[in-house]
Amino acid sequence: MRIVLFGLSLLAALIVLDVYLQASGIQTPMETRIDPHLGPTYIPKMPLTRFNEGFYVGSTNRYGYMGPAIPPRSTQGEHRVLLLGDSYVLGHTVLPRHHFARRLESRLEETLGGEFHALNFGKADFNLWNMYQYHHDFAAAFDHDVTLFLVDENDLAPSQQIATDLYPTVKIAGDSLMIDRSFSKSGTYRFYKRVDPLLSHSAILRLAFNSYKMVKRGELAEVLLDKLAPERSLAAVTPEPARELPELSRVILRRLADDQRNILVIHKKLTPELLEEIAATGVPVIDLAACLDSLLAAGHDPYLWPVTGLRGHWNHATHEIIGCFLADELNSQPQLQRLVSQDSSTAN
């Protein structure tokens, strides 16, 4: 009887605590679900609060991406920039109004006139291969004038496709690319489908999952032993720098080059060899290195968060400057100027 009472009260307390965690925004359940066609996608209209090096309060829109809900079809006079990338694009470190996408929109409107929308299709841990698939399967369905693929060295030359058991994978098939969706038949996916109702509703399970990820990252000793923990070697923390472009990335970039609307935005300094390889694919490139270097030269660390003292993603000032920089770079793109002038002539 005592054991039953203990078990029931434990369960009831866990449920109450779970509700509290969700309502207060301390922890949300999994914000993604795994679609058999798309792989992990954001659950629409999900309120999110994030604390990392920065602070984010926002939500996914009804279409399942971040920011204002812009429908797939555009209106006349409206121009769109699709943003694809990893957590830098996702921007869960700043309030939505401080995201570089907002600055990009306002700057383009100031300089080119008309109405501009930047749609944030960023996803944490995305690499170029995932971006290509997500763009192909989902983002491209939204009318757009330009698509920016924001990448760094790790996204261009990932060590492997992330969580292949739960993601569609891109493969080279002869001269073209194919998307393999066989993950939906994997044991992991079947297991996921069974636990999904719990994962998508429980904040405590999400906390447990985060703890598991922390253990997998090798941070357990630091968490448990604090300053008594043995220091981890730098090699264990920093991955090896990429030396050359993998074949799959090269093919993807060539494919992206076929559509003039696609632009690759490099947001961390690459080796000259890698830059040469990218240039050879023919895809237009905007390199943010100069912009970030100018910040550093002016004494502002683009990755330093003054409040938490952590280094990580772009801070507020960097978002502001990147938004302006990207707008100015896009402004000089002939295809965008042509579109805007076409619009104004149609309107007249």
Partner: protein, 491 residues
């Protein structure tokens, strides 16, 4: 070592059973003393010397005070203790503040003075253990307490790890007899201890820390946030500071119970107070009592003695003059005790003014009742209005307490006056509402049951289930987020 860290939980898991395993009370006291020093040394071992010095000096002064009847010698011994304790506190905590003030004053009259800033860390908990040692010496001087013969007991009184860095500011009269005969904890103490620890961790980690993350983000860069977000952050700080400190006090009392020691209560639903004097009888009780006994009471006596020379017709009139002087001075010093900064002075001054106004204008010099007699609709209305008015002013005070500078506080106040809406108003408002409801619910249950260990009124298996679930979630949260230090650690 933060209470909200795994290393502390491991420390606790080693110290509590080891203390219980020792049979002799003296061995227990000695072991707890070493454990307390280890706890303190984990932060910075160099400051152990200060702790030992404070213990030895005041132990010796206490013994001398007990041994002599000569009033002159006794006064000199008291002065010596005050000088050594307050000297240490002033040097470490206020030197830079006063040096900066002197430099600014000199600059204002055109004198250029070189900066005299010291680059030293503030020893953790110095304000707390200084007040503990002072209270011991003053009590011995006033012959309210017999000095202890045992250096170990006295050193443990100064450095007992559950209360070392952030109180409660216990009195020697309560603790020394317990240390002199340190018993194994009773079954009741263990149950109460566990319940207090679980409740404390819930308040500290799942309310205080969680709300604190929003507060730190907003107050860290207020220029990035709009009026509703700034207001939400201020309200969340109101919740954070209470949950953080009351949670810490719960954990401290719970841990002390596990080693057989009962510490005093430090909070009693302060946000349900309907007046400022009631608030100060419910907020940080150990500090309020200390200030009342050792600062306000002597100060008002001295002020009354001075005023008596004016030969006013009635005692009431003398009191009308003496009370505001004494209470405002006391609260200014209380503000300064919290931190060496102008924001704390403003906070203390505000509370002093509110207390004086309340006593002289609202209650027209009558003592302010603590007992709540709520009769009829008007009574209820007055009760709620009293709470709302008091707490609104308390929240205003917290703005200065939390702001990093007077300029920042002014900036935020300006944002409240020139209100600018935000697309996130609903989100922030809901966040505040959830935290406020949870803390209010906990307080109401405590108020109704008149107990902090209300969980123990449930069946043992149910209480155990709730505590286990709470600790499990707390551990998961701690595993995935960097622990925030207690707000009062900085003082």
């Amino acid at each position: 070592m933060l209470f909200n860290s795994f290393i502390f939980l491991a420390f606790l898991a080693a110290v509590v059973p080891a203390t219980a395993a020792l049979r002799h009370p003296r061995a227990r006291a000695l072991f707890l003393l070493f454990a307390s020093y280890a706890f303190y040394a984990y932060w910075d071992w160099r400051f152990i010397t200060l702790l030992v010095l404070a213990s030895v000096v005041d132990y010796a002064i206490g013994r001398k005070l007990g041994a002599t009847q000569d009033a002159g010698i006794r006064r000199r011994l008291l002065l010596l203790s005050c000088l050594s304790n307050l000297g240490m506190l002033v040097f470490f905590k206020y030197f830079n503040f006063f040096a900066e003030g002197a430099q600014a004053a000199a600059a204002s009259v055109g004198w250029h003075v070189e900066s005299w800033q010291l680059r030293i860390a503030l020893p953790l908990g110095i304000s707390f253990y200084t007040f503990r040692t002072l209270s011991y010496i003053i009590d011995v001087y006033r012959r309210r307490l017999m000095p202890t013969d045992s250096l170990v007991d006295y050193a443990l009184f100064v450095s007992f790890f559950p209360m070392l860095v952030a109180g409660p500011i216990e009195r020697a009269g309560n603790l020394l007899p317990q240390f002199a005969n340190l018993k194994s904890p009773s079954r009741e103490q263990i149950r109460e201890g566990m319940a207090l620890i679980a409740l404390g961790y819930f308040k500290k980690v799942l309310i205080g820390d969680a709300a604190g993350r929003v507060v730190d983000s907003v107050f860290g860069q207020p220029e990035l946030y709009r009026s509703p977000e700034l207001l939400a952050a201020l309200l969340l700080f109101t919740i954070q500071i209470y949950a953080d400190f009351a949670g810490y006090s719960n954990i401290a009392r719970g841990i002390a119970k596990l080693v057989g020691v009962d510490l005093m209560k430090n909070f009693e639903q302060p946000y349900l107070s309907r007046s400022f004097s009631e608030f100060w009888r419910r907020w940080h009780i150990s500090l309020s009592r200390w200030i009342w006994d050792y600062l306000f009471a002597p100060l008002i006596s001295a002020v009354l003695r001075m005023i008596s020379r004016l030969q006013l017709p009635t005692v009431e009139q003398e009191m009308r003059l003496a009370y505001p002087l004494a209470v405002i001075t006391t609260m200014l010093l209380c503000g300064l005790w919290h931190g060496a900064g102008y924001t704390f002075l403003v906070w203390g001054g505000m509370h002093g003014l509110f207390l004086a106004f309340e006593r002289l204008v609202v209650y027209r010099g009558r003592p302010i009742p603590m007992q709540r007699r709520i009769r009829g609709f008007t009574g209820r209305l007055r009760f709620v209005a009293g709470i709302i008015t008091t707490q609104a002013l308390v929240v205003l005070g917290w703005l200065f307490f939390r702001a990093e500078s007077l300029d920042q506080a002014r900036y935020i106040l300006r944002q409240f006056v020139h209100w600018q809406g935000s697309e996130l108003t609903g989100r922030f408002a809901f966040m505040v509402l959830v935290y406020a409801l949870v803390i209010l619910l906990l307080d109401l249950v405590e108020y109704r049951t008149k107990s902090e260990t209300y969980l123990l009124r449930l069946r043992p298996a149910v209480a155990a289930g709730i505590c286990t679930a709470t600790m499990f979630v707390v551990c998961l949260y701690l595993a995935t987020t960097k622990p925030l230090p207690f707000v009062y650690f900085q003082f």
